[in-house]
């Protein structure tokens, strides 16, 4: 009996000594630099649906894949987000704007991974494969992953591109059915990524085509290592990345859907960067953390039904524009997480023109203008507030109430309509049931055309879902002229004139451009947020 006691005790002592010695052994091994200093953990808000941004449109997927795994032919860069070279080192557009030739870089390596080893560098075949997959319904890979390419369908890519041809190994020519200067912008979006044709052939041989969107091969700064849905994504640095040397070894997406969970992980330093943080004040207070914000390419607005009196009178619209206290709305509805909108496009766009007069909040101006319009005693109107939350309008009902109290001051009585299901709401708006409506628009790409055409063109007016029914021939000709030229200065002039028309006519009152936030540790450097589309960890560094 005694011997058994001893053995139990001996085991216990052994365990304790083993444990302690393990810990100390760990300490003695400090000479290899710690792996966590070479890894960046990003706490993301959800799991991606696919590893190919061509096939999806959701922000989570684009954040996780587009700029991490892939490159595009061209990209946006600079403060004004102008189109600049990426995989294509240069391009040439014919005078009629219908033929665009891209000259590819010759030094672009694809990812070497455990499941595929590329034997060649990027060439024209890869570009043609990537776009034919989308364009050609007969293509072997078109229907893999469902055959839906939501972004390309929304811009009617199929009807725009006539064909793509290979001129030589490193030259590709797109032939368009019509000139469209937003074409380049579309090629630079998060969705127009270049896949590997060699990998596709390899998968066809193995007869496992569906793998192409699950185990991705691209040219981007990081390569795929491991993914566990609902848990994490592990990327490794692409050691032969053509553009620069990647500073870190690993990039990990820690999938943490809970807002408080992400905040806790940021505060406890378990995440280096977190998506959409809450408790901004807490983050700003901490000296070792920082909060980044970027104004997104979107706009929340109050649109007038310009076919219904008295809103067919531009003076009435202008008066209301003067009477709305946008600053108060930004504080109350966006909690300061937005920028006041002075025009339909954010001030970071190259088409923004600061010389165009802004409609400042001024009750006296509002009353004067209303008197001029012939409504000194005001009138009764209705405002329809969108029943769902969007980044550009997180709480339309409260916004409508704030506007109601603003307009009360100039004698206008407002009734608010809100209780509709979203699709019914849109249908009633398209039927023109409203006087004014709170809606918004989020851009797919930074080309300003995205705002000008979708919001206020005559074709948008006939569709009616933007709520203004405003059709101005002069404005329309300006924006279509701008699409036909590729000269940036000319386009700027056209858009400036278009903005001037909007300022005078006030078919809508732009209210806010919402911001996207990100929390991070101070030791993480690099510009990660983009004003439109996904994140980019290419320049990230940890020290």
């Amino acid at each position: 009996m005694k011997a058994k006691y001893m053995s139990l005790n001996t085991i216990k002592y052994l365990l304790i000594t083993a444990f302690i010695s393990l810990l100390t052994l760990g300490c003695s091994n400090e000479n290899t630099t710690s792996l966590s200093t070479k890894s960046v953990i990003y706490c993301s808000e959800g799991s991606p649906e696919s590893f190919n941004p061509q096939t999806v449109i959701s922000g989570v997927t684009v954040d996780a894949t587009s700029h991490q795994l892939y490159n595009r032919l061209i990209t946006y860069s600079g403060d004004n987000n102008e189109v600049s070279p990426s995989l294509a080192k240069s391009w040439h557009i014919t005078r009629d704007g219908k033929k665009i030739t891209f000259y590819l870089r010759k030094d672009v390596e694809f990812h070497h991974t455990s499941y595929f080893t590329p034997s060649r560098k990027l060439n024209a075949d890869d570009v043609i494969f990537s776009f034919n997959r989308v364009l050609n319904n007969e293509h072997e890979y078109h229907d893999i992953s469902g055959g839906l390419y939501p972004f390309f369908q929304s811009i009617q890519f199929n009807s725009l591109v006539k064909n793509i041809e290979k001129i030589n190994e490193y030259t590709v020519r797109f032939t368009l059915n019509r000139a469209d200067s937003s074409f380049l912008a579309n090629l630079a979006t998060d969705f127009s990524v270049i896949l590997s044709e060699e990998y596709a052939q390899h998968l066809s041989k193995l007869n496992s085509q569906q793998q192409i969107d699950r185990l991705p091969i691209g040219t981007g700064p990081f390569k795929y290592k491991e993914y566990r849905p609902g848990s994490f994504i592990r990327y490794l640095a692409h050691e032969n990345y053509w553009q620069r040397k990647i500073n870190i070894e690993q990039l990990i997406f820690d999938i943490t859907p809970s807002n408080t969970g992400r905040l806790t992980k940021l505060l406890a330093k378990e995440c280096d960067v977190v998506a959409y943080p809450i408790a901004h004040k807490k983050i700003i207070e901490r000296p070792d953390l920082s909060l980044n914000a970027i104004t997104s390419y979107n706009v929340g607005y109050l649109g007038f039904n310009t076919t219904k009196p008295p809103f067919n009178n531009k003076l009435v619209r202008k008066a209301i524009s003067y009477a709305i206290n946008k600053e108060a709305i930004i504080d109350a509805i966006y909690f300061g997480k937005a920028e006041i909108a002075h025009s339909i496009i954010p001030s970071t766009s190259w088409a923004y023109d600061p010389t165009i007069p802004k409609h400042e909040y001024s009750l006296s101006k509002a009353i004067n203008t209303l008197n001029q319009a012939g409504y000194p005693n005001g009138f009764i109107m209705n405002i329809w507030a969108m029943p769902i939350q969007k980044a550009y309008n997180p709480d339309a009902l409260t916004m409508a109430k704030l506007i109601k109290s603003d307009l009360m001051k100039i004698g206008i009585t407002v009734n608010i309509f809100h209780n509709y299901e979203w699709s019914t709401f849109l249908k009633l708006i398209a039927d023109g049931e409203h006087h004014a409506v709170l809606l918004g628009w989020a851009a797919n790409h930074p080309d300003p055309d995205d705002f000008f055409t979708h919001l206020l063109s005559c074709s948008a007016a006939t569709q009616g879902n933007r709520g203004t029914f405003w059709c101005n021939k002069q404005y329309d000709s300006l924006i279509s002229q701008s699409l036909q030229t590729t000269n940036l200065n000319k386009r700027k002039k056209y858009y400036a004139s278009a903005l001037k028309i909007i300022e005078e006519e006030v078919p809508l009152v732009p209210i806010a451009h919402s911001k996207r936030f990100q929390g991070r540790s101070q030791n993480i450097s690099g510009q990660l947020l983009k004003p439109f589309g996904g994140l980019n960890f290419e320049e990230v560094n940890k020290n």
């Binding site: 091994n29 792996l35 953990i41 806790t264 378990e270």
Partner: protein, 342 residues
């Protein structure tokens, strides 16, 4: 010893029958179709369903159905999860080791801290030390664990930044699961960073394990205190005193060992309590164990997962009970002689 073993085996078989009967009846008690609840095949085609009915004998009487269910159980088939469509058995095998790891470390902490404190209290019986230890242990026992867990995260992760708040290991380290017990896997891995990973895993387990350990620790304190007091009252201690042994010699040579035996007897009982606490703690600390998975399954209405997970957990607890009985019997010959009960 043979009779002792046979008794335990007998008990094991009967408990197992009751357990499986209960889990089998759950599939009828849950809302929805019983066969779907049992197999997790939600979108089965007509042919697949016919096959399942054949396999699970769903056209025969209830006893044949139960027998078919048992046969599937013994083949390791617990159906597939309704929400993730993964086999329950593989999920359980992946998740149970994490819970075992947490519970064992917590048990270790509870014993290493709780038992000596209990002995100290007994030695200082009815003095201030004893009273304050009893007071603190009462307090510790009454603290709700979910509150304690959140408080610990707030203090040690957010305010002080000493310990990580979630998970089992930083995602930075890539450790291949071999045994499922993370510490062993790290030691087995060939990563050049395995010592860093080991330290990181240690930091991760400290907080959840301490939170789980608190309540059992207070119980150990009181058990150890009572056991020690009983031993100190016994005649062989008086005899030892008469022989002229010093106080510490008596305590160390005689009292501690005999008191420990009585405490070990209760470890098995505490283990069930511990696993229950671990389930709540896993949710707070995002510990990837079976408890968190079960609670998620409950909120997702994943009936296959609920009854498969419950069955796995309860059999696990039961096996631990029997094992501690054996350990106790091995340590204490008196227990082997006892004919009835444990």
């Amino acid at each position: 010893m043979l009779i002792f073993t046979l008794r335990r085996l007998n008990l094991f078989i009967f408990t197992f029958i009751v357990l499986t009967a209960l889990s089998f009846s759950l599939s009828f008690l849950f809302p929805g179709d019983a066969l779907t609840n049992l197999t997790g095949q939600v979108n089965a085609t007509l042919e697949q369903r016919a096959l399942l009915i054949e396999e699970y004998q769903y056209n025969s009487n209830i006893f044949k159905q139960y027998w078919a269910y048992l046969t599937h159980l013994f083949n390791g088939e617990l159906g597939v999860s309704i929400s993730s469509h993964l086999p329950i058995s593989s999920e359980v095998i992946n998740l149970l080791p994490a819970t075992i790891e947490l519970s064992v470390v917590a048990l270790f902490i509870a014993m290493v801290i709780g038992i000596p404190i209990g002995f100290i209290a007994a030695v200082n019986h009815e003095k201030t030390i004893d009273n304050s230890i009893l007071f603190i242990s009462m307090l510790g026992y009454s603290i709700p664990i979910f509150w304690l867990g959140l408080l610990a995260v707030f203090v040690f992760s957010i305010q002080l930044g000493w310990l990580p708040s979630a998970g089992r290991l930083s995602l930075v380290y890539e450790i291949k699961p071999v045994t499922g017990i993370q510490f062993f896997d790290i030691l087995l891995s060939k990563s050049e960073y395995k010592w860093q990973a080991f330290q990181d895993a240690t930091l991760h387990i400290i907080m959840p394990a301490c939170v789980v350990a608190l309540a059992p620790m207070t119980i150990f304190i009181r058990l150890a205190r009572t056991a020690m007091m009983e031993v100190l009252d016994s005649s062989y201690i008086t005899a030892a005193k008469a022989k002229g042994l010093t106080f510490w010699q008596i305590i160390y040579r005689h009292a501690v060992r005999n008191a420990l035996i009585n405490v070990i007897r209760h470890i098995g009982l505490q283990f069930a309590n511990l696993v229950t606490l671990a389930m709540v703690t896993e949710v707070i600390f995002s510990w990837p164990g079976i408890g968190r998975w079960l609670i998620e399954s409950i909120s997702q209405g994943d009936y296959t997962a609920i009854h498969g997970g419950l069955l796995a957990l309860s059999s696990f607890i039961f096996i631990v009970h029997i094992l501690t009985d054996f350990i106790y019997a091995a340590l204490n010959p008196l227990a082997r002689e006892r004919k009835h009960g444990a």
